[in-house]
Point group: C2
Chain length 282, copies 2
């Protein structure tokens, strides 16, 4: 145990899709901390995990996931990267998975927050300490105010206020994190289709005149240790294709997958990127 | 004025899309009441209005609409059939339209209810009495309980309860009237794309196993004199294509465009059709 004390315990990373699992691993490794990534099959990208010690397990094989984390000395755990919730039929739980599913209970098939809170609770009961990706990846947390050089006009500020009210109402029902508002009209609401699909739809529904805004927030009461809203250059590309005027995101509650690329993309497309504090909105 | 008393004043029908304006006109005519329909250009269907005295006017020409209603002896007025809200650029108001728009003010470009309430208020100030389509078309108002022979199972009942909570939260923010829930997961939320487009999307997002439900309700506090939710055989076709198990709608607050056709389509597709009282849900 002297060895264990002289070297920090490994950081376990339960990896969904996108680049963030690799970013978290790199930040931890840069700080001198060993890491081990468990890639969720069908979600985690091999190229993202490849540079680090890792394995792949399907989501339903909870027994295998916990064993792999323990075998690799992980006690702290980060859940990062999008995972589409499986149906009970897709899940095919292993023995441990079935036991855990029973402990999660109905929450597994209710709202998102209910599920994530239940997963975090079960992981804690199994002896793991769940950290937020934003606690490791501090430089990727969105700041308040403008990123880049484009500022919203009065119509956009009014649309942002409406979007904040709508997304908060959605979040109170534990569904969705985002909407698109143009000229006071809610063009699209996000459920499970994801932000990019919602933006594509909003582009088809857009009307003439001043472009709409994407508002993306943390759900009220959401456990920030899982599934923080994420934006990156691809979000800007989708927003520009939908002829939006900009993106408002929650300062301190949004992960930027590539801050420099995001700012470059926003400036090049003429889109504002505004970090807001939703509690400041009526 | 003796003549006016011996014969009821004409019922004015401000007609948007779909078959309901014709249904309202036929019901009033069958009750011995003269009717005059003002078809909104780009929304009202010529074949629906053709059997009745009517004219066509574009939405922005409010002066022309009011004059046409007065010329044809209308004092009671029904607003029926979907109208997509135009942008300020599409609207091109006439002189009277600009005056009315100023009286409607910001509500014209805020939430739906705000706009409709303002339109009803302005019409009242102009001397018209606005009735709900459901007051004329009483046999088209959805009853409580099952239509047809298919009943929801326990999963569907649970999904309906979740959908009611979600649609009510949306409605409180004055947006949307419908959502699709499958196995506790909200697959899709309706904004301005319309129910059929939302159902098409939900079909692409559906998971294996027990099919989802469409929940469509009146918004809390909505003025029922305008824009009641509507379902018909085409809704059943879209729901069946999305592999749903059924449709829950608000009893007393939904217009059925073709009740017999709806029931036949539901039974043929194996979909339940359930009229609910949302106030009975927690």
């Amino acid at each position: 145990m002297i060895g264990a004390e002289s070297r920090p315990a490994a950081l376990g990373i339960l990896a969904g899709g996108g680049p963030l699992p690799g970013r978290v691993a790199a930040a931890a490794a840069a700080a001198g901390r060993p890491v081990f990534l468990v890639g969720l099959e069908g979600f985690a990208e091999r190229s993202v995990l490849a540079p680090f010690p890792h394995g792949f397990v399907r989501l339903g094989a909870a027994g295998r996931i916990l064993a792999m984390l323990r075998e690799n000395g992980c006690r702290d755990l980060v859940l990062v990267g999008p995972v589409k919730r499986p149906s009970i039929l897709d899940l095919r739980p292993d023995v441990e998975g079935a036991r855990i599913l029973a402990r999660i209970g109905r929450a597994a098939f209710a709202g998102d927050d209910g599920l994530l809170a239940a997963v975090v609770r079960v992981l804690a009961e199994e002896g793991f300490s769940v950290l937020g990706a934003h606690e490791i990846l501090t430089e990727a947390v969105a700041p308040g105010g403008l990123l880049g050089t484009i500022a919203p006009d009065a119509q956009a500020m009014s649309d942002i206020a409406r979007g904040v009210a709508v997304v908060r109402a959605l979040g109170a029902a534990d569904v969705g994190q985002a909407c698109v508002v143009q000229q006071g009209i809610v063009l699209a609401l996000e459920a499970i289709e994801g932000t990019d699909a919602m933006l594509a739809r909003a582009g088809l529904l857009a009307r003439q005149g001043s472009g709409g805004v994407l508002v993306k927030l943390v759900k009220p009461g959401q456990d920030r240790r899982a599934d923080l809203p994420t934006i990156g250059p691809n979000t800007v590309a989708a927003a520009a294709a939908a002829k939006l005027s900009g993106i408002a995101f929650e300062a301190g509650g949004t992960l930027l997958t590539d801050r420099d690329g995001l700012v470059r993309a926003g400036d090049a497309a003429g889109l504002f990127l505004l970090g807001i504090d939703p509690s400041k909105y009526a």
